[in-house]
Amino acid sequence: MSQSEQKPILQVRGLSKAFAGKTVVHNVTFDLHPGEIIALVGENGAGKSTTKNMLCSLLAPSEGEILVDGQKLEPGIGEDLGVSAVHQELSLFQTLTVAENMCISRLPGKAANVDWAEAERIAAEQLDFLGIEIDPHVTVDQLGSGKQQVVEIGKALLHAEKVLILDEPTTSLTAVEREKLFNILDKLKERGLAIIFISHFMEEIYRVCDSYVVLRDGEQVGHGKLADVPQHHLEEMMVGRAIGEARPDLSEPTADEALRVEDFENEDFHQISLSVKKGEILGIAGLMGAGRTELAEAIFGLRPAKGKIWVHGQEVPGHNVTKMKDRNVVYVPEDRRINGLFLNRPVRENLSAASILTFVKRRLRGIGFKGEKRKANELAEEMNIRIPHIENHVSDLSGGNQQKVLIGRWLVTAPEVIILDEPTKGVDIGAKFDIHATIVRLAHEGAGVIIVSSDLPELLNTAHRIVVMRKGRIAGEFTRDQFDPARIISVAASEGGARDDAA
């Protein structure tokens, strides 16, 4: 209890923000003490990232004030006051090197003569502290998204003297790296850094945080010590209603094969053979850079690969995206902003993009989009996508809602084989529950499902079978009765883990 007697390092008073007249954050008030980790939780679109943006002085609040160490936070001076943040959408510069990225806002040496050797040393030291092997010389675009996230965290840590804000920092990390990060947070806490931690993973929150602030539709609906609230209570505060135990019933897979690949091979994976039955959900686990995404993309025909592939027992010669789509195979990509969404197009068009021909009624084939709006609205409702209007650009949505748009797009195509890559990345518990339910329902209806996920509990929850990949090869397979988190992780991580970077 010594914390609350200390002077708070960050005071947030009546913070509000409105975009074009619509209030998205309203009257948020809390204190943060040195050495305290506070969880900022809420559903998708609750206003967490907006709050973060105000706290690191990227956005000016409409009302209220923020005091850092007693000093008022003015726009743009966050870093000078020792506040820094890891943003939900990475803010790295792809063609700059790791060292350049990490040191960019405080380059060593003079403005007219930057000391690059020093910058590289600082970066290397920081990466070392984070316990990950990344060459500070390589450009960021050569790193996988997991490593990029680590770089981003390292960058923020370099400048966080008083307050560090982490907005969903673990979405691209696997269990091993997450644990590393949490240990680091513990260390930082001991050093007296104050941390705001935004996450949709309840286990993580209970693992690292001391207290919590709950936002619902922009309102602060709860604030206190974590030790005082049980998890289900916290969840209820976020959602505003009681939620049931999220354990979907799995159906029995049939004997028919939905998809089969044999001897798949390219520069990212080696000798892969696997099959999914109709009605079966196959999980693929592995560390970052294990080659799961590449495999999934290759199966869908987005990357060249040697090997054979069967859909519904029929071989697909010279397979490519069009052929796979024609056979009702779909792929929901991992990175929604880069490979998934059309950010400056309306939600409606994003939902219909994969199935324009079947999405709407047409009198003449290929002409007119009658009924598109209605169907898009229905789908948005079905997926529980929160948007003011179906014509809003996708970029206006919160992260979780964007993810739902992406999944919704593919679900309307009535897929028979569906490959999902990190399907619940950045999605709140309610939405995650919805998405899992949808996946299970698809399996019930006879689709073959492959889920690639770094969120092990998710796989344990939904999969019939888990295949573990390591360095581009299949390193193990577990059926439901053999599920054991510790063993799965050890199979994924043995021999030291991830691939080297710097190809």
């Binding site: 059309f342 068009e349 994969a354």
Partner: protein, 313 residues
Amino acid sequence: MFRSLTSAARLYPAIPVIVVLLVSFSTISPYFLNAGNVEAMLAANSVVLIAAVGMTLVFLTGGIDLSISTVISASAVLSGLVMAATDNVALGVLTAMGVGAGFGAANGVLIGIFGLTPFITTMATQLIARGIAFVMSQGVAVRGTPFWVMDFGFWVWLGIPAVTWIAFGVVLIGIAALTLTTWGREVYLVGSNRNSARFTGINVPQIEFSVYFLSGLLGGLAGFISIANLGNAIPGVGDTLLLIIIGAVVLGGTAMEGGEGSVLRTLLGVALLSILINGLNLIGIPFYDQLIVQGVLIFVGTWLAMKLSRRRS
């Protein structure tokens, strides 16, 4: 009523600017709304309008077609030569469209299929088209255009020249194709995010090919229209048009980054630019001061337009 007016102004931010220009020019100069002046303005801008529709398609996918200006010249010259030799107008139209389509297809294959950068590639084809126009014509106008073609340039229906009707037709087809067909939708999606388009199973090379192809085709048509307008085909006819075409498209509100814009906006952009230039001429300020005013108005117009459309979202 008022609401729908303001919302139209937000969607098509060029409209209020056009209205202001129209009102002020017609007050200052009694000749501005004179039928002859309006006809001349419409006819002269039909070439730019047709080409700008092509450029809009390319812009929507995030590309650029620098060759469209000299494709106009090349197709005009070749079509002029064919007509001079055969006295056959249909053959002339076919040649113009064929030459345009040829260049369009070349750009389409190089950029869409082989993935070359649009800027340099179309700059190269721009030079080649210009060279062909000059080689074939030996630098001078191709004479011997059938009388019918020139006469066609004079036709006026409902106060609007025939060539302008053709341009309007192109605009209408462009609007329909972009808003009503799957192809149009895919053009927007490719421009919005190529990766996502590929991951969604859209045939990106095909879409890119198609926009450059159509841009070339429209360049060809514009080349033929230039013959009708001018009476003869000249090898330098398109040279000066490139910046005007790009200016009109961007002024209308179609972004070069892709995924945003429309043919209707381009129509308004062309209208705005041509009203501006014509009006400034009538007011009688010297040429070089017109350039300055034009520049300022292009800037202010686009800025206002952006302000208005920002407020919408």
